[in-house]
Symmetry: C2
Subunit: 333 residues, 2 copies
Amino acid sequence: MERVVLAARPDGEPDASHFRLEPLVLPPPAAGEVLTRTLWLSLDPYMRGRMDAGRSYAAPVAVGATMVGQVVAEVQQSRDPRFAPGDLVVAPSGWATHGLAPGAALSRVPAGVPPQAALGVLGMPGMTAWVGLTRIAAAQAGETVLISAATGAVGSVAAQLAKARGMRVVGIAGGAEKCRIAVEEFGCDACLDHRGATPRDLYRAIRDAAPAGVQVYFENVGGAVLEAVLPAMADFGRIALCGAIAWYSRDDGGPSAAALWGTILTRRLRVEGFIVTDHWAQFPAFLAEAAPMVADGRLRWRETVAEGLAAAPAAFLAMLKGGNLGKQLVRVG
Amino acid sequence: MERVVLAARPDGEPDASHFRLEPLVLPPPAAGEVLTRTLWLSLDPYMRGRMDAGRSYAAPVAVGATMVGQVVAEVQQSRDPRFAPGDLVVAPSGWATHGLAPGAALSRVPAGVPPQAALGVLGMPGMTAWVGLTRIAAAQAGETVLISAATGAVGSVAAQLAKARGMRVVGIAGGAEKCRIAVEEFGCDACLDHRGATPRDLYRAIRDAAPAGVQVYFENVGGAVLEAVLPAMADFGRIALCGAIAWYSRDDGGPSAAALWGTILTRRLRVEGFIVTDHWAQFPAFLAEAAPMVADGRLRWRETVAEGLAAAPAAFLAMLKGGNLGKQLVRVG
């Protein structure tokens, strides 16, 4: 049994030295607990925030503690009557080969899809896309929706849900290949490559793709991309603020706060930050929309898979720089 | 007849050289038009934005054109049957001793209050306070509302409306005297002086005054005050973004955009920019609440009065630095 712990807090960009693989020792399950063996570990941008000290919406990971995260796992021993050895579950095991948790903390993997979809398109990232698009931005058919990180685990679902709901969808992604996939696989009407583009170049491309302005911006990145998006927002536009990966390790770059505030004011924008866990009660409503779309092939996804728990830090660091395509996973078991 | 025109566009802080007093020539009123003589000119922070080129919610003032603004005026000649010489009206005459406008652009000054109240507590600034508090922030009884520029024409009304609606009200103002007035005259439960305070000092003062966090921030200033407010916001707090006077001439100072975006995200804030003119259809609802409060003395105001049109530029420049108390007016006629 092994785990990856936070070895030290990064000051700026994290690197391999901030993680450490070490043996894991777990006791046998107590009454109500379930011991699981990890098959798939989900890597998500929010984990970068948990590496820092300081107040956020969740407590930081302590130095020396297991990095947090959701996994798909197989039940090995169960002292909760609802679970039996061999069951596939989603568990909060973190970056570890095994986990021990109360049965109440586990949920079953949906049938009919590869189990790791429970960490992506039908899990937290998919639900995040749905909440941001439908509940936070309240995007309507006919509107133009701009989505940054459009091939990411969240962005790719947001794009397809938006398209299915009758919106015009413009993606932003890093590189020509991601942009091709955003259009051909995820149904974006257009996708703009931010790599090598100045904010002014990217702004012009957005204006060309959305001549009447951007009614809804699904924000995943911040930084220079946000600087380009701001002047392209339509009056009364909404920004669903889901993430700002460009700013997780540095706060330079991007628009000034004055420009941000000035645009929100003069364009009368509504900006709302959200965290998917606040909306978990609506998970059934999300599944009711997304599961049939997965079943009939209208909701597609991509995965980038790293092999073995020891590969998790490098895969995570690459993901923070956009090195992944779609959902970043680690095949652990 | 005289007017003040925009002599040149400022690059940063405006000064007296950006304005010019010159003769005004108006033709006699055509059919449907009304000629008015200005009694009171309203000076408002939004006018700073109109001095700049570039897209905003309204067109910039052209160089050489009369500075925009609302006035209280007396009708001199009328070719609109609804108005007669001697009537007191609110008119869009700008910074000028006289104005010529279609009758449809005029509204009557309410009876029972000093006529200049139609430019302040019962006019655009009062309505702005009401819209921001009740419609944009949707502030509720029992919540803690923080108001910057709390003795200003907008802030002082927001404070009193909030108090009347059962909220806890914390003001921020520049100087001990303004803070005293915010508490003693405008009913703030506390008022914090930002003059000479670092953002960290001011943050601590806000936390002391609002230990459970700020549920609603009525934002008029931006800059260093915003930097202090951000970490004091409660989860799910709302920011009604009405103005950012600290940033109208410079965009340095205050929080980074990354900090702004990060706080909106992790605290799940909703930030909404608004312009009162978009909400003008609700003016009767505002008056129904505010006019009785004025009549029975529950809604009070302060004025700073400059004498004569030629004094308007200096009064405006002083107001941008917080030199006024309450509503800034120019007594023109």
